[in-house]
């Protein structure tokens, strides 16, 4: 479906156009969900379980209800429809159903005249608990059969062996998406028994489905609206406060707003699955992979969320972009009483990549081979089979291209500066330059694009020609990544006009665009906009017997045969499409088959300075080369590569939720550390353009891959600097010092 543009149009594809929401954002005039208000609005607040596992013995809301200014106190008894919600499996009570299965589980919600009263009302609710033993050890959960999904991928000859064998255990911690914008929602009753919801989301149609089921309402009674979102990174793919705020507005007949503060945000959304992995890689004497055997356990926490597809990704991407004919991968995602896990940028591939890239370095060392050379000789390319699924790779996959490109980026200057701001430990003045050792590490990642395993994945778009310009309608969620610009650029290029505006529709106005996740919106909603624009263009040309559409009308042999006003004489002309990617299939009993819609590769090179005595690390440089298919907006791509890489660095050296007995011990920005401007390394990026077999103009989604290859590259560099066999992220000072 690639269509070459006939002429270059201002603001079309391939250019770094400014985002139309940029000016309101720099001016403070952009309305985020947490900024919304409505006349006569109430504030909502939530009572949460103080236990990871406990029976609710008594719940007395009478004192809260008796307070001045309190308008409603709701519990699970007030849920009109299905008591449970969930995107994949409806297993989570809207409000506590008598047993809390994780710390922070919502128990009751309150609506009051102001925020302070709502909070005090929550404190006045009496909840008596009988604590139960929480199941918090994922291996114990596996032994007890407490799983959301188990899967085994088998390919080739299980008895195959290689001359060179390396094994390793690896662990990754729980990472939080920590978007700056908190969870927020405003529900407004429509006066006819229905409501409008303006809440943070990555997928309003899947919110809508869960809302109407739990509220017991008809689809037309609830409208979910796109709103301004302060980042997401997976945290908004699942329901948080949506049903609660809707229930409160229906119960009171008034608009109700709810906003989580930072600590509640840490509790109120799913996290990246912590993992434990074991890998055995076997190669022949020349370094060709002969067999990979691996086991992976992910802790899904108390409720299912997207644990099933996350496990599939962790399993399918546990070998990486390498050929290997003999593979056995056993995976399980377990149900525990830990905080629920779900989507975070990279979606399972992050964990697998940390293990397989650590293994590739071990293997290179055992073979006495250059680590990049080992990767090159095993690199998968179009026409090869994916090692874990056997699926033949279609389209483009420049594995060697990204390795060569990242290696060719000039290295930073060799000397260590005496400026304390550029040393490990920074202005703490812990580390003289003479104490610093430098290390370099590489990693390469493979990631699937869009939804997999036979999911009916689609996006709808409507493109409308009006006398004032073109409107692109979609319900896709812009979380900051720049989809708004990409949609404009695609429509401009196809329709040859600069006058394009993106209109965000609610759930009653257009069908689903699918989730803003899985690196999918550039290809899926971009693909829908492309198809709708092509359909509109072809229709206009046919209707007016022309051979070309330009900004000012339809032309035939270079002469205009219809102006835009004439085209729209009977009103705006539109074309509406539901776009789907190439079909994917359920895996067979061995996990084999065409389960993925497409693939993307990326490579990172990290340069780190380490103070080995104190275990302090400064990431000096974090360069990357990225397969993009076609670069629709180079500036936006650079932003994704730099930002994604830094989130991977967060997991590599600082980010982890400390969870003890199911309780998060560090749910604040004081204790959960995120890379700051001082921590952030310099980044050189290289974009590899080899058009893919689907997606507008051959473009691929690139939102996740930079997060995936970044983490293992940094750990490889720390190993290179210190000689330590580091197997867990984040790497902490004690891991380097060896306490």
């Amino acid at each position: 479906m690639t269509t070459a543009p006939t002429t270059t149009i201002k603001g079309g594809i391939g250019t770094s156009v400014l985002r139309p929401d940029g000016e309101p954002k720099v001016s403070g005039n952009f309305a985020y969900a947490s900024d919304l208000t409505a006349p006569d609005m109430l504030w909502g607040a939530t009572l949460r379980s103080p236990h990871a596992h406990a029976r609710l013995v008594r719940l007395d809301t009478s004192a809260a209800l008796a307070m001045d200014g309190v308008r409603a106190v709701l519990t699970q008894d007030d849920v009109a429809g299905k008591p449970n919600f969930g995107q994949e499996e409806q297993d989570q009570p809207v409000l506590c159903d008598g047993v809390a299965r994780c710390w922070g589980e919502p128990v009751a919600v309150v609506a009051a005249d102001d925020e302070e009263t709502a909070r005090r009302a929550v404190e006045s609710i009496v909840a008596e608990w009988e604590p139960l033993e929480p199941l918090v050890d994922p291996e114990q959960a596996l032994d007890e059969g407490s799983t959301f999904r188990e899967m085994t991928l088998r390919r080739g000859d299980e008895s195959a062996t290689g001359a060179v064998v390396v094994e390793g255990f690896y662990e990754t911690a729980t990472q939080d998406q920590a978007p700056l914008g908190p969870e927020a929602g405003l529900a407004i009753p429509d006066g006819s028994g229905g409501l409008d919801l303006y809440a943070t989301s990555q997928w309003i149609h899947v919110d809508h489905r869960q809302l109407i089921e739990c509220l017991d309402m008809e689809p037309g009674q609830v409208r979910c609206h796109p709103v301004g979102i302060g980042g997401a990174f997976g945290s908004r793919e699942d329901i948080s406060l949506h049903i609660h705020v809707a229930m409160l507005s229906l119960a009171t007949g008034r608009p109700v707003k709810m906003v989580y503060d930072r600590s509640e945000s840490f509790v109120g959304h799913v996290k990246r699955h912590p993992s434990k992995m074991w890998h055995r890689h076997e190669a022949d004497a020349e370094g060709n992979l002969v067999k990979v055997t691996a086991r992976v356990i992910l802790d899904g926490g108390a409720y299912a969320h997207t644990s099933r597809p996350v496990l599939a990704n962790a399993a399918y991407f546990s070998v990486g972009p390498y050929r290997c004919d003999n593979v056995v991968i056993e995976g399980a995602v377990v149900r525990t009483n830990n905080p629920p896990a779900g989507a975070m940028r990279g979606f399972g591939a992050v964990q697998g990549c940390f293990a397989h890239e650590s293994q590739m370095d071990r293997l290179a060392e055992a073979l006495d081979m250059d680590p990049l050379e080992l990767r090159r000789i095993n690199a998968a390319a179009p026409g090869d089979a994916v090692a874990t699924s056997g699926q033949i790779i279609e389209g483009s996959l420049p594995t060697v291209g990204v390795i060569d490109a990242v290696e060719a980026i000039p290295m930073p200057e060799a000397g260590i500066s005496d400026d304390p701001r550029l040393l490990p430990g920074g202005t703490g003045l812990t580390t003289p330059s003479s104490a610093v050792v430098r290390g370099v590490g590489y990693a390469v990642a493979l990631k699937n694009l869009a939804f997999s395993e036979a999911f009916d994945d689609f996006s709808e778009a409507r493109v409308i020609m009006t006398p004032a310009g073109v409107e692109v309608h979609t319900a896709a969620i812009e979380v900051g990544q720049g989809l708004i610009t990409v949609c404009q650029q695609i429509a401009r290029t196809v329709l040859q006009t600069e006058q394009v505006a993106v209109v965000w529709d609610d759930t009653s106005e257009i069908g689903s665009a699918g989730s803003t996740s899985a690196s999918r919106q550039t290809q899926m909603t971009g693909g829908a906009v492309h198809a709708a624009a092509v359909g509109l263009r072809d229709k206009l040309i046919a209707d007016h017997a022309g051979d070309e559409l330009r900004a000012d009308g339809v032309y035939l042999h270079g002469d205009r045969v219809a102006t835009i006003d004439e085209i729209c004489a009977s009103g705006p002309v539109e074309h509406h499409v539901r776009f789907r990617h190439p079909e994917t299939f359920e895996p067979d009993e061995n996990g084999q088959g065409d389960v993925h819609a497409g693939f993307v590769v990326s490579a990172h090179r990290a340069v780190v300075d380490v103070d080995p005595e104190l275990g302090l690390v400064r990431v000096v440089q974090l360069d990357t080369a990225q397969d993009v298919g076609k670069a629709l907006n180079p500036q936006a791509i650079t932003g994704q590569l730099e930002g994604g890489g830094l989130q991977g660095m967060g997991l590599a050296v600082m980010e982890q939720l400390v969870i003890d007995g199911g309780v998060i011990k560090n749910p604040t920005f004081t204790d959960y550390l995120i890379p700051t401007f001082m921590d952030a390394p310099n980044v050189e990026t290289r974009i590899i353009e080899e058009g893919d077999h689907w997606g507008p103009f051959g473009a691929k989604g690139i939102g996740e891959s930079p997060t995936i290859s970044s983490t293992p590259a940094i750990v490889a560099a720390i190993r290179n600097a210190t000689g330590k066999d580091i197997t867990r992220v984040p790497v902490l000072p004690e891991d380097i010092v060896g306490i």
């Binding site: 720099v26 947490s34 980042g231 990544q481 920005f669």
Partner: protein, 153 residues
């Protein structure tokens, strides 16, 4: 208590309760939601405003303590419809993604240039290290500030 605060050039008199932060007053009482609330602990810088000669986290300032102060928020950074150079530079360099940190960076960046018109790269990083951005990796923000740092005018 009653306080008088000059906000974006306009003197405002209002009643505040003891527990209210300047951030809360700006967002909830004065209808200035451009200043963002992301951590309420002074860790992320999203709520940065200029208070007299200092850039402060407005979540850490009691509203009562702002009595008599001159406050500039992100809404007051542009003048007569013209964006502030920091706003222009952030826009041009693609330093805005989700934009939730942007108001804080605009105010902190402007304050940085007032104190030091030609900051070096480490000086920019240090001056803005109290502002967290979760989207950009800071690269585009650095490039935006560097275009201004090099500007001799």
């Amino acid at each position: 208590m009653n306080v008088t605060i000059t906000i974006n050039g306009e003197e405002r008199s209002l009643d505040v309760v003891g527990s209210e932060s300047l951030l809360g007053v700006l967002r909830n009482d004065l209808n200035l939601p451009g200043t963002k609330d992301a951590c309420e602990q002074g860790e992320c810088g999203s709520c940065t405003v200029q208070m007299d000669d200092e850039a402060v986290c407005s979540c850490l300032v009691m509203a009562a303590d702002a009595d008599g102060a001159t406050i500039t928020t992100v809404e007051g950074m542009s003048s007569e419809g013209e964006l502030h150079p920091v706003q222009e530079a952030m826009l041009a360099e693609g330093a805005v993604q989700c934009g939730f940190c942007t108001p804080g960076f605009v105010v902190a960046g402007s304050h940085m240039f007032e104190a030091n018109p030609h900051p070096t790269e480490p000086e920019i990083r240090e001056a803005l290290s109290g502002n967290i951005c979760r989207c950009t990796g800071y690269g585009a923000i650095l490039r935006a500030m560097e275009t201004l740092a090099e500007d001799e005018t």
